[in-house]
Amino acid sequence: MSAERAAPSLRWLEALVLPLANLVLALLLSGLIIRLIGESPLAAFRLMLSGAFGSQEALGYTLYYATNFIFTGLAVAVAFHAGLFNIGAEGQAYIGGLGAGLVCLGLGSLPFWLVAPLAIVAAALFGAGWALVPAWLQARRGSHIVITTIMFNFLASALMTWLLVNILIKPGQQSPETREFAPGTWLPSAHDLLARIGLSFAPSPLNLAFALAIAASALVWLVIWRTRWGYALRVAGKNAAAARYAGISPARVTIAAMLLSGALAGGLGLNELMGAEHRILLDFPGGAGFVGIAVALMGRNNPVGIVISAILFGALYQGGSELSFDMPHVNRDTVVVIQGLVILFCGALENVLKRPLSRLWSR
């Protein structure tokens, strides 16, 4: 362990070459599956690549999906540094979105510069609030956070369905959705923002939330690695006994880390609701909370790594949907298989190649 840490070239290998090698393996296996289905793997990957990055619109969609994954990836990573496995980013994002949505619905007449910060704060507060109970139960009662956060995902979804079906629904329609937010509360889209400075960009759901996600990444890096509080968090995560000996309360760290984690997950609601859909609708996190776990794993819980792997997953989502659009034999389930293989190789099996690769390197 310490020997590996000593060699900088090995760290570099671990951070860059290893994920790439895993990605290549996953894609090779996916190629085999596509071949078995009867399509050309090369053509399929070319389609996926151009579908994800080939045009401004494609890029816009890729980054739009990536925005969700950055927020949830950061949420998982912050909890992970405190030694907590937060499986509840999905539910926290769901409730966080509710907070942002309620502000947009209720205060839609206020000017944007007032509504936007309020909505951001509401998303963070609601997300954090949803993480508070599992955090408290873990810190004070020792209830395992994995179990409680999973259960809170179901509670979030039951609560949201009840709210949307019975209370928030726009009258006179089948679909449990609220009315549209007032246009003044929408987060400006990337093409509008760029048009203002004279650049043209194809319309896509990409919006200001992407910039917020990048800012959140920088903030997480600052907090975790450059503040005393972040240090306490990492110490408690590595060794609770040592933390207690050093005068850090692990219980307090647990609660604080989960609050930050939930607040970050709430950011997804900004992107989905204020940025893209402009209404509250059922199930808008769409599994991004769970993808966030893979994103954090692959990005090694480091903000830079998370942004990169979030973009990779955004590309898989967007490129995958292009793929199933253009290749009739490749249906959505095949795309899920490809995404699953990438998660499997880059997340769960990440250490399989570690030994052979480092041996190869040292030779």
Binding site: T161, W162, V165, A276, E277, F325, P328, N331, R332, V336
Partner: protein, 320 residues
């Protein structure tokens, strides 16, 4: 010669250009043995009869709806069917951008000059199924298992209960929803448990409006030697002798009819509602349930059907 060939070719192209159809299925997917699949059967029939193939897409997240509709429209598809109420807002967004493309939304309402909104009066078929259940029940207790708790499913429940009370005002109706997430459409284990608990309370007929979850409901009825009622597609064949009847929702007819109209040039925008009068909803009767849906029950149902169509019996509708 070449000119004639060219002419023929261009004529063929012009004919083929008449309609270039595409369909967007919702989360359930093309083969959900229920609602989406019924739409795909309409597509299959249209393709069989005309040789014109539909392009299709099954969405996996909400953003894809707008994206894929736009993509179809841009690729020259001029007739796009969106299946399911959750696609209404996507149609609302995309349709104005492509005024020359004809859109059809199933189970939703969109007021635009290039959109046809198709809805069904599910409460009418549910009403008849409620009657059939009440007429077949020996215990005076019947059950309902819904999928996800949304207005559409409450509409089924309300019609069912009203139908049952129409026959027997004192009947007891147990009502359960499977869940509040989309996974409630595909949870046969839970469906079976809910049905069993209703049987435990004395129900002897149970109606499901729960998509894939309903498979478990019908299995539980079969295992207990009791009766179930299928939904959307004709499901009588799944457990012959145990599935009393099925509440039919002819999405296939709606899709086929709209596509045919678009091809003949007789397609118009606006709102269409399919009920008993239009044969868009109904109950099933075939060799699989002939033995249990007796002629006496059938006569009552046919009478009620006539009364509903004529407006002599009012079926309550779920409103917000």
């Amino acid at each position: 010669m070449r000119i004639i060939l060219l002419f023929l070719l261009s004529a063929a192209c012009a004919l083929a250009e008449g309609i270039k159809p595409a369909i967007v299925y919702d989360f359930g997917g093309k083969f959900d043995r229920s609602f989406n699949q019924s739409a795909s059967e309409g597509v299959a029939r249209f393709t069989r009869e005309t040789g014109i193939a539909f392009r299709d897409f099954e969405v996996t997240n909400a953003t894809q709806r707008v994206q894929v509709m736009r993509q179809f429209a841009r690729h020259g598809y001029n007739f796009i069917v969106a299946v399911g109420f959750s696609q209404a807002s996507a149609v609302e967004q995309v349709a104005p951008e492509f005024p020359d493309v004809r859109f059809v939304i199933i189970d939703g309402n969109v007021d635009l000059p290039n959109v046809e909104s198709v809805n069904f009066r599910e409460q009418e078929s549910s009403f008849l199924c409620g009657m059939a259940a009440a007429l077949s029940s020996k215990t005076g207790k019947i059950g309902f298992v819904g999928g996800m708790d949304i207005p559409l499913i409450r509409k089924f429940a309300l019609g069912y209960e009203a139908g049952a009370r129409h026959v027997n005002p004192k009947i007891e109706v147990f009502e359960n929803m499977t869940g509040s997430t989309p996974s409630a459409w595909n949870d046969p284990t839970r469906g079976a448990e809910l049905a069993k608990s209703q049987f435990g309370r004395g129900a002897d007929v149970v109606f499901h409006a729960a998509g894939g979850t309903g498979m478990g409901v019908m299995q539980a009825a079969q295992d207990a030697g009791l009766l179930s009622i299928g939904c959307d597609s004709n499901q009588d064949y799944i457990h012959p002798g145990s599935v009393l009847t099925s509440a039919l929702k002819r999405v296939d007819v709606a899709v086929y009819r709209a596509a045919t109209a678009a091809r003949n040039g007789s397609w118009v925008h606006g709102h269409v509602t399919f009920g008993l009068a239009e044969d868009g909803v109904g109950y099933s009767l075939d060799e699989y349930n002939r033995a249990i849906l007796t002629p006496a029950i059938e006569k009552r149902l046919e009478d009620a059907k006539r009364d509903i169509v004529a407006g002599r019996v009012a079926v309550p509708e779920y409103r917000e």
